[in-house]
């Protein structure tokens, strides 16, 4: 298998952390240079017409795109440790938690950064900075909800580490790097403590 990826982008990091948690070691990594526009070149568009990373090329040549779909495939391919739910009931509740993080925390951070950061002006054309500012506010509201959630349970989806923790951690690391967001400095002690615990996992350290 080959994973087309880009080390610094947040969605590839989600898949990299998922793979590290699973201990899967037979995936060749191919770097796609976003800064050089390689994701918009004909070769890559033939693999993913949406020009996004990551994309997983299976051994039979089929190409699977979309971060969470790639994780779903890997969960079936390497079931242990379970990260997406055991049985349909738990799977659905973990999916709920993961989507809340994706749709509100991750998207809020990504939209804020894409529409306000000078370094992303070439990727997001045109930028709408006022829209980005509202998205940053929504990201913080979601972070406050997550802080309250983590006051009552140790992990994002409940009592154990799941894909929802990976999504939330990668969203926070993205916001930490490009929005200088530090939950602890904004009164979110539970979220900060959770983030610091997750950062100690070998899978997080593996992200570099």
């Amino acid at each position: 298998m080959k994973l087309y990826s880009s080390t610094r982008a947040p969605n590839p990091r989600r898949v990299a952390m998922f793979i590290a948690e699973k201990g899967i070691d037979n995936i060749e990594q191919v770097q796609v240079d976003l800064g050089a526009g390689q994701h918009r070149g004909a070769d890559y568009l033939a693999k993913n017409p949406f020009g996004r990373v990551p994309a997983l090329e299976l051994d039979d040549g089929r190409i699977l795109c979309e971060t969470r779909a790639i994780c779903s495939w890997l969960e079936g391919h390497a079931p242990e440790p379970n990260l997406m739910g055991d049985g349909y009931d738990e799977r659905a509740f973990i999916e709920m938690a993961d989507r809340r993080i994706e749709l509100h925390l991750f998207s809020g951070a990504a939209n804020s950064i894409r529409h306000t950061h000078p370094g992303l002006a070439a990727l997001e054309q045109p930028q709408f900075p006022d829209f980005g500012a509202v998205q940053a506010q929504r990201m913080r509201e979601t972070a406050q909800w997550l802080d309250r959630t983590l006051a009552a349970q140790p992990f994002v989806a409940g009592q154990r580490f799941t894909i929802a923790d990976i999504t939330a951690f990668c969203a926070l690391e993205f916001a930490r790097g490009l929005m200088r967001f530090r939950p602890g400095q904004e009164g979110m002690a539970h979220l900060q403590a959770w983030r610091d615990r997750i950062a100690e996992r070998p899978s997080a350290a593996a992200l570099g």
Copy 2:
């Protein structure tokens, strides 16, 4: 079970169509009046802190939110007909198709409508009309990709009807109603023919 829903909103329609395809008939429907702001009231926020519809209240009192997570639960509860994939490989590829529709077609239409339609000014504050216009353009680019896809295969995810067809149909109906989008009038004959075939399914007619 109780489904908190709002007939005209596009996400509740996805779940309603999914339920109709499954033939599940033991779910009580509770209407949430978005126009009156009922989704922002304390009673509803106690059920879903994000104030979104739909939400599924299970018989044991737990509440499951997020459209696709609700569908995942119902797929496990009522496995036939299969709409989300049989085995992890097919499930992942259907998830890829469903997410492409969600992230590019559905979100493009929803963001365009929320940021430009006068009727949604109360729901989306502030509106950014220029951002909405760019989103409308992205929705059309995704529709053109889907038109090409449907020239080569009968359904959104491949050879059979799946949840990805439901997501795409509800996105197009939303865009049809509030953006006056007609694929056939914009040179997308395959997409129009697919839409017209899906509209004949009893599950689509059931949406009213």
